[in-house]
């Protein structure tokens, strides 16, 4: 299960209306429930919000990686939202967030969950990738940039643990 395969072009969303953290997560939940029949939008939303309550998934530099486990999720799902305007996400550095990478995983896939999370974090940790994503002008371009960044990340050896 690779990150590329769980992020099809139609789930890289461009120009998503911001508003607030809650609105963004609501938007994604509704979208993913329409996109994936087995999922219920209310359930996805409450799982994502539940995770945010433990501590914001805003990791700094305008990036957030909301993630959750869901019993109705058959296989890991990823979605990417580029917001039209940055929203306050209670991020660790206090900066507003405009790049949101969402990850949903089935309940039993815990190791995959962590591996995927680490991979997403690695991709979004790169300043260059963030700049390129911010420059994207279309959904197509956004998806291409993401996949290219993920490929690049996969080729790099994992940074040594400190």
């Amino acid at each position: 299960m690779t990150l590329q395969t769980i992020l099809p072009p139609e789930r890289a969303l461009y120009g998503v209306p911001g508003g607030s953290k809650k609105r963004v997560l609501e938007f994604f939940s509704t979208f993913i429930a329409q996109n994936t029949p087995s999922l219920d939008s209310q359930e996805v939303f409450s799982r994502l919000i539940g995770r945010e309550r433990l501590g914001s998934t805003g990791i700094g530099n305008g990036v957030a990686i909301p993630h959750a486990r869901s019993p109705h999720c058959k296989t890991p799902l990823a979605g990417f939202l580029k917001l039209s305007e940055a929203v306050d996400f209670d991020a660790i550095d206090g900066d507003p967030v405009d790049l949101v990478f969402v990850l949903l995983v089935p309940e039993e896939a815990d190791d995959t969950h962590l591996a995927l999370l680490a991979e997403v974090a690695g991709v979004m940790n790169d300043a260059d990738t963030r700049t390129r994503l911010r420059r994207c002008e279309s959904q197509r371009e956004l998806h291409d940039t993401l996949i290219e960044a993920i490929d690049r990340q996969a080729q790099q050896p994992a940074p040594p643990a400190p």
Binding site: R53, N61, G94, A118, P162
Partner: protein, 569 residues
């Protein structure tokens, strides 16, 4: 008249040379104290200048003066809140640890030099304590940011372990020259040393701190008054039979931990005084030694030195810390390695000379050789070891310069100077910065010219920014100016995601599919990590659990407030 002129010329020349030579330390990674000692030896009787100096009692006096000033400064700089994690292990090291180190080294010295047991033990006692000057300067001078548990333990240990070594040395010297009292009397002496030292040090320090805070003096006088009263405490304690060294360290601790305007005048002066003391002391000790005598003892003394570094110190740390306190193995390893010896052993080695013990030159030269080895081997590898043993915690951005404005007597405003090297701040108008509400940018420098910052002024990389704010604003400001490289390093250490320590374990477990034992369900994440760490957690502690590193990333006193979640990759 001539001798006075020579004294001026030589002392000025040597001190100036030492300060200039300290640049070598950063160039070649040579421990600073070695340089001072080496210069002293070079100036000495068998060196270039050929200065004859063998006045042990003068050296003894200079030694006491310098050590007192160094310990006072060390106390001023030690934050009382680090006692939370460092005090008890340090106290164990300062008593039991010194005792064990001295014993092990002593027995070995007896065998190496063919001495009696008491004579051997005297060698051990002399080199038994770590040196505050060496440890303080090595730790702060290398830009090493140790985790609080290790840093505090080492600092407090070096400030408090001299009384034990002095006690052992004096006792053994008296035993050798034959005026030792009974066991009861000896024990009483030990209790007096620690008891009076603590009592007068803490009590006197408390009074002095109150006095300094309430007095309105010319700025230059605060530090002098602190020094003078510190010396009074030292003298009074010693007269009553207590340990003056312990007292003056504790006195400094009390003064330095009472906030107020006066500290801003005291600290820089004492920083300079401590430097002068270190340079002066090591120069004098370098002058005092006769290199050819030193060579005579070189081989057996290096055996003693190696035994101290590789056997006695590690064993002593292991026995006096590991069973009682929750230290990780790598922390034990690092503390064992940083058992730096410095001026104290050499000053203690003058005791037998003054006390008239036979064979006194042996003690002096052996102590000297052991200190040299310790500084070279342990001091030279301290940053390497810190990295290797993973006891460092990444340090984010701090202001390049900061200083109080001196307008309010308490909770004063400060000026913080930052350089903009955070990519994300480039071309950002000032009004969009997430600035703490009480702070403001008062001036902005670009290419040596001062601009008047307005809300619409856009920052550029390389700008130097003066911010006026309070100490409480510092974390937010640091975060704002944190560059990307530093942020990345912090993220690699603390993990990408940060959880609130108040979060319930049952919720955390549900979010990541972790299994908990029944008792753990109701705990908060902070309590859980605290429990796993065992006792007093410090920033940087991590717990491996369910394929995740749970890293303590923020604390308030003894309570964890934020936990990082580092994923194995």
């Amino acid at each position: 008249m001539d001798s006075i002129n020579t004294l001026f010329l030589l002392s000025g020349f040597l001190i100036a040379l030492s300060i200039l030579a300290s640049r070598l330390s950063s160039l070649f990674g040579l421990p600073l104290l070695i340089i001072f000692l080496g210069l002293g030896m070079l100036a000495g009787e068998q060196g270039v200048l050929g200065i004859q100096f063998d006045d042990y009692s003068l050296a003894f006096l200079i030694g006491h003066l310098a050590l007192a000033m160094i310990l006072l400064d060390g106390g001023l700089r030690t934050r009382l809140k680090t006692f939370r994690v460092g005090f008890r292990p340090a106290l164990s090291l300062a008593t039991l640890g010194v005792f064990l180190t001295s014993g092990i080294v002593g027995v070995l010295a007896m065998w190496v030099f063919d001495l009696t047991l008491v004579q051997g033990l005297l060698v051990g006692a002399i080199v038994g304590s770590t040196d505050a000057a060496a440890v303080f300067s090595m730790l702060s001078g290398r830009g090493i940011n140790l985790n609080e548990r290790v840093g505090a333990t080492l600092e407090i240990e070096s400030g408090t372990n001299d009384p034990m070594a002095i006690f052992l040395t004096i006792m053994l010297v008296e035993l050798l020259v034959g005026d030792i009292g009974g066991i009861a009397q000896t024990l009483l002496f030990l209790i007096e040393q620690f008891g009076f030292g603590m009592l007068i040090g803490i009590g006197g320090g408390w009074l002095i701190a109150r006095l300094l805070r309430s007095l309105d003096l010319a700025p230059g006088l605060y530090s002098l008054l602190a020094l003078a009263l510190g010396f009074c405490v030292f003298g009074l304690t010693s007269v009553l039979g207590g340990s003056g060294f312990l007292a003056i360290y504790l006195c400094g601790l009390m003064i330095g931990n009472r906030p107020g305007r006066h500290l801003n005048f005291i600290l820089p002066v004492h920083d300079g005084l401590a430097w002068l003391s270190q340079i002066g002391l090591f120069l004098v000790l370098g002058l005092l030694v006769t290199p050819s005598d030193l060579l005579e003892y070189a081989l057996p003394a290096s055996l003693v030195g190696l035994a101290l570094i590789f056997v006695a110190r590690p064993l002593a740390v292991l026995i006096s810390v590991k069973p009682f306190f929750k230290f990780r193995w790598r922390e034990i390893g690092f503390i064992s390695w940083v058992g730096l010896r410095g001026a104290v052993p050499i000053v203690l080695a003058i005791f037998p000379v003054i006390g008239g013990v036979e064979n006194a030159s042996l003690y002096f030269n052996v102590a000297f050789a052991v200190v040299l080895m310790s500084l070279l081997i342990q001091g030279g590898t301290i940053s390497l070891m810190a990295r290797w043993m993973k006891v460092e915690v990444p340090l984010g951005v701090t202001p390049n310069r900061r200083g109080p404005l001196g307008v309010l007597p308490e909770n004063d405003y400060e000026m913080f100077v930052y350089q903009v090297d955070n990519q994300d701040l480039d071309d950002v108008p000032i009004r969009l910065l997430r600035f703490p509400s009480g702070a403001l940018i008062s001036a902005l420098f670009r290419q040596h010219a001062m601009l008047h910052p307005k809300g619409s002024t856009r920052l550029m990389l390389g700008d130097v920014v003066c911010v006026i704010g309070r100490t409480d604003d510092l974390p937010a400001l640091n975060r704002l100016f944190n560059g990307d490289a530093k942020l990345k390093r912090e993220r690699a250490f603390f993990g990408t995601f940060t959880l609130d320590a108040d979060a319930l374990m049952s919720d955390v477990a549900a979010a990541y599919g972790l299994t908990l034992s029944p008792g753990e369900q109701e705990m908060s994440l902070g309590e859980f990590v605290s429990l796993r760490v065992g006792g007093h957690p410090v920033v940087g502690d991590d717990v491996g659990w369910h394929g995740i590193h749970w890293v303590v990333s923020e604390m308030e006193g003894n309570r964890i407030t934020k936990v990082g979640l580092r994923l194995y990759q």
